[in-house]
Amino acid sequence: MRKDVAWYGVKPMRKGVPWYRVGVVVVTSTAVLTPLAIILYQSFLDAPFFQPSAKLSLYAFRFVLADSDFHRAFATTAALALGMTVLAVPLGSALAFLLVRTDLPGRRWLEPVVLIPIFLSPVVLAFGYVVSAGPVGFFTLWTKQLFGAAPWNLYSLASLILIAGLTHIPYVFLYTSSALRALGADLEEAASIAGAGAARIAFNISLPMVRPAILYSAVLVFFLGFEIFGLALILGDPGGLLVLSTYLFKLTNRLGVPSYQLMAAVAIVIIAVAFPLVYLQRRLLGASGRFVTVKGKGLSQRPLSLGRWRWVSFAAVLLWLGATVLLPLSGVFLRAFVSSWGEGVRLAEVLTLDNFRDLLDYPNLVRGIVNTFGLAVIGGALAVGCYALLGLALHGWQSGWSRLADYLVMIPRGMPGLVAGLAFLWVFLFVKPLAPLRSTLFSIWLAYSVVWLAYGMRLISSALLQVSPELEEAGLVIGASRGRVTRDVTVPLIRFGLLGSWLLIFMIFVREYSTGVYLLGPGTEVIGSLIVSLWATGAIDIVAALSVVNVLLVAAGLAIALRLGVRLHG
């Protein structure tokens, strides 16, 4: 063997910089980092950034950290996040085991149904709970008529934790079930032959093997609890419960003048807690994938028999669905079709379509509906297009740039919608050439697209994962350039994946409410932010009608997605 040849570290052969790829990464970083930078900058000023007198100072942090309301909000948030995690993780794991591994009746049609809470807007859900089970809700009053009393208080911290916990079960289900599916059935069959029953198998074999996925979903739920806004705004407010996001929201009017610096300081606190959680999730997600590769084989999965627990489990699942989907949604729909409701009102006498007619009388509400639809359909397509451009730019590219982009994509996840919306408002105020765009739907679209960047990228990369690298290499060897291969092989092969992503982004954009709150103005109305602002004015009739429209839009998207066989998770 000749020794004179350089052994390692031969330089990369084609030195040409891939400009298209670098360009896409630079544009993405700008869109992601500018809002973060502006919040950071604002948090260290002693006045709003547009005031010439604004100086660098720690005043905002000092004020916020000394505020007893902030302390209470922080404690409440921690209790809420912890409580809902404790509730959602065991129940979600059990649900996943029941649906994936056992002979639970109706598990085929239950699968998409249990994911519904993910696609419902939290403000709509929260509103639904108020009109169903609030002090004068439909079911509260009916229970009083029947039994003389309704012994619950919807506006307590316990209720908030319970509702948040129950509505976040699908997230746990999502990750645990896909890990369970990747597990070979033979591992369980071995235990079954050794004489273990379904429950034993669940606790001794299946659930321990998907522990990384469960751990991941626990961190995810805790993180989502930390960012909770809609549920806490509507269910917490009457009882005086503040969480971090609602504290931020209330700050707007606290001092009478725009207290941007305080909002920025709170936003930074939220981001500072969220980032480590996002990073932890990323680490855990990698670990959960690695764990699943230690699996058995055998695709035919004979479901484990639940025996006499079969119908008991089925009833429990239905009970949960009743409490998290049926109860709030039936309230929303009932409330939308009555003129008023309260003690002594008889349902048959108040039925009406007036609420929907009223909706049409307000041009801003009509605009809100049209905007939401357009934003979800066209904006959703554009967003998927951008995600695809970024995904393709990073596809099969090993370099410092692509690793940087991996981290960039995570940053928006650490910014709750409310904070991101605020940040984008400031971007549009601060960067003068962008100012005219603030009152157009572009501002909303940009904010939505950035907030959901990580989710969108996950959809795109799971579509790209379906394309075997050999199919692309075949094109290269035959003589097609990289670009040509992308056009002729990669993109046609991920077409269905892109369509599915579009439908999912459609639903997400229809559902989204918090990101638009600060950007709400004439021309930028969307259903979600309109509900938040109308709720504050007490216009319950209109909120109910808007909620119905919102739910129907999501339902339409969901129906098409299921019809086309789109997988509801990336």
């Binding site: 063997m1 000749r2 040849v5 350089a6 052994w7 390692y8 570290g9 031969v10 330089k11 052969m13 084609r14 075997s468 050999e470 199919l471 290499e473 075949a474 094109g475 290269l476 060897v477 035959i478 003589g479 097609a480 350039s481 990289r482 040509r484 002729d488 092989v489 046609p492 092969l493």
Partner: protein, 351 residues
């Protein structure tokens, strides 16, 4: 068709040296098989020739074109090497018809539409898939897909054809037919080809020359006959065929012959490695050269029949001879009687 020259190619993946300096030459119109167990670096070498991976060091020249040279930093990208590659998975594009799969290389080369139709139809006829042009890959059988993959790789007259385990995705019966067909096609096309395989029968049948790779190095190279009948190492002997192995020590050397002795036996054979009297040695013989007979002769050991397996075309006898396990092939059911196992000295290799 051009001559391929691969010089001292090295590749390191993580902590492993996958290729530790491999050199070989491929003349015009020749078929070379890169044979080796998994992890021997054969696929890495093929991908380096194709331009899909770049080695850490070495030089690859095709005809008068330098494809890769680590010292001058030249690396022609895969799409400009003008090669044809048949993937192990075939890698047919599922969204294109058979016709469009094959025609793609011609379209890239801006061949006029009428000529494309003509050439694709001609190659479809050649591979016996006329009338299947409008089908999609998933509507074809494994064997048909393999033919389409070959057609796609040769339709634009590549300078060199690369085949990555071309038959491994077919079931056993089909593989034999495809082997014959593939050899005929290659001869008919008079194309130079490099074929990666882990199956020695495939390598023997397809190639003019076999390169046996082990641990990132070339263990031995030669014609299929040389490789089978004249292995230079135990590894080569073991990899190329089925053998009986007897471990002992050298007790006598006479010119090219040596005597190996173990507990209760001694046999003469061809000396294949530098040995001195007293060295430990391994005697290896092809199963088909080992014979079972009724009476003792030169170079034989008494054996007791343990069991016999009926394999259809032949019987596989298992003997216990002086504590050694020896296999012999025979044509009929064995009779329960004492046997002597004969090891012809010209066929017994001593390593």
């Amino acid at each position: 068709m051009d001559k391929l020259l691969v010089t001292n190619v090295m590749k390191r993946l993580g902590p492993n040296d996958v290729l530790k300096g491999v050199s070989f030459e491929l003349s015009r119109g020749e078929v070379v098989a890169l044979l080796g167990p998994s992890g021997s670096g054969k696929t890495t070498l093929l991908r380096a020739i194709a331009g899909l991976d770049h080695p850490d060091a070495g030089r690859i020249v095709l005809g008068d074109q330098l494809l890769f040279d680590s010292q001058t930093g030249v690396a022609v990208p895969a799409e400009r090497r003008q090669l044809g590659l048949v993937f192990q998975s075939y890698a047919l594009w599922p969204h294109r018809t058979v016709f469009d799969n094959i025609a793609y290389g011609l379209r890239l080369r801006r061949v006029p539409a009428a000529e494309i139709r003509e050439r694709v139809n001609a190659v479809l006829k050649q591979i016996g898939l006329e009338g299947m042009a409008e089908r999609h890959p998933h509507q074809l059988s494994g064997g048909q897909q393999q033919r389409v993959a070959l057609a796609r790789a040769i339709v634009y007259n590549p300078r060199l054809l690369l085949l990555d385990e071309p038959l491994s995705n077919l079931d056993a019966k089909l593989r034999e037919e495809a082997r014959v067909w593939l050899r005929e096609m290659i001869e008919h096309l008079q194309i130079s080809a490099v074929c990666v395989t882990h199956d020695q029968v495939e390598a023997l049948a397809l190639a003019d020359r076999v390169l046996l790779l082990e641990n990132g190095r070339i263990e031995q190279e030669g014609t299929p006959q040389e490789m089978y009948e004249n292995p230079r190492t135990v590894f080569a002997a073991e990899f190329m065929g089925s053998n009986n192995r007897l471990g002992g020590s050298v007790t006598e050397i006479k010119g090219a012959l040596a005597k190996v002795t173990g507990p209760g036996w001694e046999l003469w054979g061809q000396l294949r490695a530098e040995h001195r009297t007293g060295d430990a040695a391994t005697a290896v013989i092809r199963i088909e050269k080992t014979r079972a007979q009724d009476s003792p002769s030169d170079n034989s050991i008494p054996g007791k029949l343990d069991t016999a397996l009926y394999l259809g075309e032949r019987w596989d006898y298992l003997f216990n001879a002086a504590g050694l396990r020896v296999r012999v092939w025979g044509s009929g059911a064995p009779a329960p009687k004492p046997y002597w196992l004969h090891f012809p000295p010209e066929s017994l290799w001593i390593f």
